[in-house]
Structure formats: structure tokens, C-alpha cells
């Protein structure tokens, strides 16, 4: 990750879920700086390091999403993505011959999901504002939580 961050300092976290054969899917959170930024990072992941040549799924999120928690990632995908607009599909890219799902041995597709908040230019619509509890209320409940004895 430090090597990646050297080239792309906007990358906040980078996660390869082990259940995705350790390299076939990457979830990347970024500090988004301009429209289309997620796509640049997608192509960066695919092209910068040879190790990620076989990473056939790339999901890009904003920095407020914990890429190591599926619940968070699925929330970002289902609330910040339009499937038709925000997916990038490429065919005939290098794939490891172990991947029997690719149409030809050694050659297959890649897909990128832009699950970041959409900016002016990327959308014309008023965008959703995430709900957050106030710090004062959180603090007050922290203070009485033990006394409540709920869990």
C-alpha cells in the first residue's frame, strides 16, 4: 500500500478480501478530489503494479467507508452507484490461466465499480446527505451506557 500511495496519495485504504483468492478483488477508499477521480484510480490499480494485473473486480469508495467491512461497502454501492452509469467493463485484458471463468485462458474481462459520492458533472441531482448523530448525544449515551445494562 505505501508503494501505491506514493503514486496515488489520494488512496486512504486498500483491501484485498482473502475470499477473493487474495488478489481477484480490490476495494479502495480515496479522498476524492475531482469528478471522474474514481475511474483514474481504477485504471491506476490495474496498470501501476503488475501484482494487480489479475484483479478483475475493483470497487472505489469515499474515505468515510470502511473497505474492510462488507456491510459498509454494500451500503456505499447500493446508495452511491447507478449500475449503468458507474460501472466500467473492459474485455480482453490479461488474466491468470488459473481463472477458468475467463472466456479464454489468460485473457478475460475486468470490472470497476465507482461507489463514491457523485459530484457536479457526474450527476445533475441533489445528492443525499448521510445521517450522523450529534457528538453531544453520543457522549451523553456513552456516559449512561453501562447503567442502562442493555447488552
Amino acid at each position: 500500500m505505501p508503494i501505491l500511495q506514493k503514486q496515488f496519495p489520494e488512496i486512504v485504504d486498500f483491501y484485498l478480501p482473502p475470499e477473493g483468492c487474495s488478489y481477484r478483488m480490490a476495494i479502495v477508499s480515496i479522498n476524492k478530489q475531482y469528478p471522474g477521480h474514481a475511474k483514474r484510480v481504477m485504471f491506476g490499480v490495474w496498470s501501476f503494479l503488475r501484482q494487480f494485473m489479475y484483479t478483475k473486480f475493483v470497487i472505489i469508495t469515499d474515505a468515510d467507508v470502511n473497505v474492510r467491512d462488507w456491510k459498509d461497502v454494500i451500503w456505499a454501492m447500493t446508495t452511491r452507484m447507478d449500475p449503468a452509469r458507474d460501472t466500467t467493463i473492459i474485455d480482453n485484458t490479461p488474466i491468470d490461466y488459473l481463472d477458468f471463468a475467463s472466456p479464454v485462458s489468460g485473457l478475460g474481462g475486468k470490472i470497476g465499480f465507482d461507489a463514491t459520492n457523485k459530484w457536479r458533472g457526474e450527476t445533475q441531482r441533489e445528492w443525499g446527505k448521510p445521517i450522523r448523530m450529534t457528538a453531544a448525544v453520543k457522549e451523553k449515551i456513552d456516559g449512561i451506557w453501562e447503567e442502562l445494562g442493555i447488552l
Binding site: W75, T79, E126, G128, K129, P130, I131, R132, M133, T134, V137, K138, K140, I141, I144, W145, E147, L148, G149, I150, L151
Partner: protein, 305 residues
């Protein structure tokens, strides 16, 4: 297990360790949300806030916070039994005629259950023991939560809205959130394709310019609450479906303001009308999506009783 009203369900949940009483004073403004949110994420118990700040009526929350409590509310013991409820629904939607005498006998239990479906109308009901009329109506006496910091105001989150279309004999039950805007007015936020909105639309065509009768039940037995959120076939009343879940007919009573029927054991019933052309901008409110949603105009429900 079947429950005759919400209090019965609360008592049973408490025995099972599925409900926690909170005697501490808690503010319905934001504080309850924070406690419920933490409890829900930890798959914790239902919560009964016995001492809401500024109010004397307790607040029941996180009631259906786990699949197990949904199953219990439907009268089942386990989550897997919910599949049987689904199969029952499917067979009611497309009933198959019995194939011969033996098959007819096998289907008897199902038909016996269907007999439980029509609601039973009581002339005297607990929900009408105490009645407030006209200027006595004051929603600020109810401990209605304001859930999130940027919400437009207090919100009735789980009111069972009872409506009836002009061409239908069945009563429709739906859960639509209701923003409180006055001591006797809330905004009825139903999406255009939902049962209540369709009933209202048909009413306006048949009775142009006339007020549309509505009743809202707060705190009913669990089968009725869950019946109202289950996608039952459009021709079937949620009362009938609740009767099926419960294994006994839903007890209802006639409203004092109009002819709608409401669950007899409801803790609180709001009766009134939507007056033609009265709408108000609703929201924003923090939604189940995790975001605040946009402001949109919806009809205003005026509470008479």
C-alpha cells in the same frame, strides 16, 4: 404462541429475556435513537423506555430488531417457520382445487385457518375507554421521537394507517411515516403506488371535494402490526392476514368519527380526515437508506378525535 394485545406481547418478550426496561429518564429527542441504534447493531433486546423526558406515556422501541422477534410476533417460535407463513400466503394467492376426497381432507386445516380471517367487530373496545375530541386533541402529549439532528420535526414512525377505497369492501392497513406539524395535524407520507394513496386517489374520483376518512392505530397486537407490513395480495385485507397469523380473528371496532374499523386493542387511535387539496412539504428526515431525503409535498391528516 399468540398474543391478545401489545401488552401481552411485551410480557411474553420480557419472560424470554427479549425485552429490557429502561427506568432512566431518556429524551425522545435524539437520545432514544442513539440507544436503539446501538442496541439494534448488537442484535440486542426490545426496549421499553418507561420514563421518556417530559411525558408520562412509555415508548416501546427496537421491537422487531431481530428476525427472531419478527418470528415470535408472527406467532412462530423460530425464524425457519417463517417460510411456512410464506407458503400459506402463496397458496392463498393461487389456491389449487382439491384433487379428490383425500386431498380435500388434507387441505382442511388450511381452510379452517381461512375461516379465521374475517375480522370480528366489537361494540365495546379498550381503545375507546378514554376519548378526547376536537380541541382536547394534542399530539404534544404523546412521546413522539425526533430521530436525527437534521430532521424537520417529530415523527410518528410506526402508525398503522387504516383506509378504505370506495370500490373495495376490504380495509387497507399500511405504515406511513407522519410528520407532526400541529397539535392535531400530521403529514401523511405515502408513496403514490401504496395502498393508502391508491384508496385516497379512488375516493377523490368518486367523491370530489369531500374529506377522506382516515384512522391511525398506535400500538396494536404484533400480528396486526406485522400484517400491515407484509406484502399481502391486494384483494386481501391486512386484518384477514393478521387473523391467519394469529390463528384467531382480528378484533376490530368501528371508529366514533366515521365508519372505518380499527384494531380494538390498540393503545391509541387517531381518527380524522384528509381535507381535499390540503398538502404540506414533508421532510427532510433521516431515512432507512442512511441519508436524509428530499422535501416533497404530501396530504395533511387532521385529527378530530
Amino acid at each position: 404462541m399468540h398474543y391478545k394485545d401489545l401488552r401481552d406481547f411485551i410480557a411474553q418478550l420480557e419472560q424470554l429475556g427479549e425485552l429490557k426496561r429502561i427506568p432512566l429518564e431518556i429524551d425522545p429527542y435524539l437520545e432514544m435513537t442513539e440507544i436503539c441504534d446501538r442496541t439494534l447493531r448488537a442484535e440486542g433486546p426490545a426496549l421499553l423506555f418507561e420514563n421518556p423526558k417530559g411525558h408520562s406515556i412509555p415508548v416501546l422501541a427496537n421491537l422487531f430488531g431481530t428476525p427472531k422477534r419478527v418470528a415470535l410476533g408472527m406467532g412462530q417460535e423460530s425464524v425457519t417457520a417463517l417460510r411456512e407463513v410464506g407458503q400459506l400466503l402463496a397458496s392463498l394467492k393461487e389456491p389449487e382445487p382439491p384433487k379428490g376426497f383425500k386431498d380435500a381432507l388434507d387441505k382442511l386445516p388450511l381452510f379452517k385457518q381461512v375461516l379465521n380471517m374475517p375480522p370480528k367487530v366489537l361494540s365495546k373496545a379498550p381503545c375507546q375507554e378514554k376519548v378526547l375530541v376536537g380541541s382536547e386533541v394534542d399530539l404534544s402529549r404523546l412521546p413522539i421521537q425526533t430521530c436525527w439532528p437534521e430532521d424537520a420535526g417529530p415523527l410518528i414512525t410506526w402508525g398503522l394507517v387504516v383506509t378504505q377505497g370506495p370500490h373495495k369492501s376490504r380495509h387497507n392497513l399500511g405504515i406511513y411515516r407522519q410528520q407532526v406539524i400541529d397539535k392535531n395535524k400530521v403529514i401523511m407520507r405515502w408513496l403514490a403506488h401504496r395502498g393508502g394513496a391508491l384508496d385516497f386517489q379512488e375516493w377523490q374520483q368518486v367523491h370530489p371535494g369531500e374529506p377522506f376518512p382516515i384512522a391511525v392505530a398506535l400500538g396494536t397486537d404484533p400480528a396486526t402490526i406485522l400484517g400491515a407490513v407484509t406484502p399481502v395480495p391486494d384483494t386481501l385485507s391486512e386484518y384477514a392476514f393478521a387473523g391467519l397469523l394469529r390463528g384467531s380473528r382480528t378484533e376490530v371496532t368501528r371508529c366514533l368519527t366515521h365508519n372505518l374499523q380499527v384494531p380494538a386493542s390498540a393503545e391509541i387511535v387517531l381518527e380524522g380526515f384528509i381535507y381535499p387539496d390540503e398538502t404540506a412539504p414533508e421532510g427532510p428526515f433521516g431515512d432507512h437508506t442512511g441519508y436524509y431525503n428530499e422535501v416533497e409535498a404530501f396530504p395533511v391528516f387532521t385529527i378530530e378525535r
